[in-house]
């Protein structure tokens, strides 16, 4: 029996290593392609196409991106601003909501939970929401439009509620109350201190959402100075791709002063950079938070 056991285990080990290595390569390869292209000379891309290793090494892509850094830097600024303001405000509001809903002595918590949850079941759809935002709340071209829609989601509020419920024992509320603490003081002094892992997880979700957002820009922002980073990149790629397709159809090259291939890829790297740099550090918290959430069901 022991010999057979070893054979099967060995087979599984081999399968596991092969699959996991292949999977990892598949996940990394696309990034390498972009990275390599961003360091390639533009003519060599146009002549020979993209390669996994730069056919001709060059920094011109990055030079072009930073020759006129205004646009990129401004988009960076917008994204930084919305990410920081959105994440802190959203966290503040969602922890408060989660705290109230977690309190068992709050009589109407079931009604309000449903009030929040129901919005995931049924909604007016994109168009009425868009009209509401632009015509009635007058959010076109305002930073508010970039921040407001992502502030809270039912999923994260419920997650927050569960975190608080498991981190703060019920008796703590009561004893704090007896000591004369008001509801807000309990929230600020006790709940926030005890539910840090939950706050970190929800905060990461929020920050990731704001950092990667291009959709709100595309809906509400007409002023290029207020484009988010991702939408800026989207425009750079797409205007160029569109022109290239047009050119291919008509046999006319519309090259000119359009962003060149290597510049586009360099731009993509510049946009992704912060995430790739921060990733090793934040990934741990994400896994931890997801793990707690998953075990809770």
């Amino acid at each position: 029996m022991q010999i057979k056991d070893d054979k099967y285990t060995k087979i599984l080990q081999i399968i596991a290593y092969v699959v996991v290595i292949l999977g990892s390569i598949a996940c990394l390869l696309p990034f390498l392609l972009i990275l390599s292209a961003s360091f390639s000379a533009n003519e060599s891309i146009i002549k020979d196409g993209y390669h996994l290793i730069p056919a001709k090494f060059s920094l011109e892509g990055y030079k072009t991106v930073f020759r006129f850094p205004d646009e990129v830097l401004r988009a960076y600024g917008v994204t930084f601003f919305t990410t920081i303001v959105g994440t802190t405000t959203g966290l503040f509001l969602m922890t408060m909501a989660g705290y109230v809903l977690a309190r068992k002595d709050f009589k109407y918590r079931n009604i309000f939970s449903f009030y929040i949850y129901f919005t995931t079941l049924f909604g007016g759809g994109l168009v009425p929401w868009y009209i509401m935002m632009t015509k009635y709340l007058h959010m076109t071209d305002s930073y508010m439009a970039l921040i407001f829609p992502g502030l809270m989601t039912p999923f994260l509020i419920i997650l927050m509620k569960n975190f608080i419920r498991s981190a703060v024992p019920e008796e703590l509320f009561e004893s704090a109350k007896i000591d004369g603490a008001g509801d807000f003081k309990i929230y600020w002094r006790i709940v926030l201190q005890l539910s840090m892992p939950g706050i970190a997880t929800v905060g990461l979700f929020l920050a990731l959402h704001y950092w990667n957002d291009w959709f709100t820009s595309s809906l509400f922002i007409n002023d290029p100075h207020k484009y988010q980073l991702q939408f800026h990149l989207y425009n750079v790629i797409n205007s160029a791709a569109f022109m290239a397709n047009m050119g291919a159809g008509t046999g006319v090259s519309l090259g000119g002063d359009l962003p060149t291939e290597s510049t586009k890829m360099a731009m993509a790297i510049v946009v992704t950079g912060p995430i790739l740099l921060l990733y090793p550090f934040i990934q741990r918290y994400f896994v931890k938070g997801l793990t707690i959430g998953a075990v809770k069901g």
Binding site: T9, Y115, G124, G125, P128, P149, F286, V287, A294
Partner: protein, 288 residues
């Protein structure tokens, strides 16, 4: 302290619900809510008769089913294999790498697709040229995109669900495995008879959550990969992309609202049905 949340959802979700009235009007952007001409169900009728609604529904549901089942099964397989790895640092490293795509934006995904598949100098055609084969214009082949979309969905989301399954695997008590080992079960039997059944509840919970949102496709994914490329609509248009286009490109506001309302209603009925069935079978798994 709950007030901000209540106001937020009132503005962001409940007031727009009133706006579904636009679905029954011939709305343009200058008229206000109740002075747009009322046309009854004509918007829906048009969507239905032109075949748009049917096509969008089939695409939306089809893709989502593929995402849900392939995504979960692959995530389970990968999580099990990963959990069997013995070298600690290697396990950590590969898990991080496979989780990485989840963190980059969909715009970057579109850059990747452009890099690999664009006709003139994409990586694929470079590769084909090296083997002396003819270049392929992927952007003109609608059927290929079915697989590409599913592939890129898996690429982006596998790491995320894998981590969740990995967490439940770690939660399984060692004793079961020890007992099975003593009874002479080899590793494949241990996985099949212990790990897989233990993952059932996680699987069911994730499945139910995703079934509920089956009418909401992955808008970002589809829009960033396909954009406004009309050649590919037949196989790649879903309700979300149609509504977005009608709003931003063709300005069919009434039609877009109608499609959106149909999506919400259909989704709502679907969730209710699923939840009802679950409750009949096993109350513990019900969503509410």
């Amino acid at each position: 302290m709950l007030l901000p949340a209540l106001i937020f959802f009132l503005l962001n979700a409940y007031f727009p619900m009133i706006g579904v009235y636009y679905a029954f009007t011939q709305f343009d952007f200058n008229s206000s809510l109740f002075n747009a001409p009322f046309v009854g169900l004509r918007n829906f009728e048009f969507l239905w008769k032109s075949g748009t609604l049917l096509r969008l529904t089939l695409n939306t549901i089809g893709y989502n089913l593929a995402f849900i089942f392939l995504g979960n099964v692959l995530a389970i397989v990968c999580a099990i294999l990963l959990s069997e790895l013995r070298i600690k640092w290697f396990k950590k490293l590969t898990q991080s790498i496979m989780f990485l795509p989840y963190f980059v934006s969909f715009v970057i995904l579109s850059v990747i697709v452009y890099n690999v598949f664009n006709y003139e100098n994409g990586f694929l055609n470079t590769l084909l040229a090296q083997f002396g084969a003819d270049p392929v214009d992927v952007y003109n082949k609608p059927v290929v995109w079915i697989f590409l979309i599913i592939l890129f969905y898996l690429w982006k989301n596998l790491g995320y669900s894998m981590v969740i399954y990995l967490a439940s695997i770690t939660g399984i008590s060692e004793e079961y495995y020890e007992a099975a080992k003593i009874d002479g079960a080899h590793i494949f039997q241990r996985i099949w008879y212990i790990t897989v059944p233990m993952l059932k509840s996680t699987f069911v919970v994730l499945l139910l959550f995703s079934l509920g949102s089956i009418m909401k496709g992955q808008f970002d994914l589809f829009y960033q990969l396909i954009g406004n490329n009309g050649v590919l609509y037949n196989t790649t248009d879903i309700l979300d992309t149609y509504v977005f286009r009608s709003l931003k490109v063709t300005f069919d506001i009434g039609m877009a609202t109608a499609a959106g309302l149909y999506q919400s209603l259909f989704g709502f009925v679907l969730i209710m049905t699923v939840n009802y069935i679950i409750r009949k079978i096993n109350d513990d798994y019900a969503l509410f």
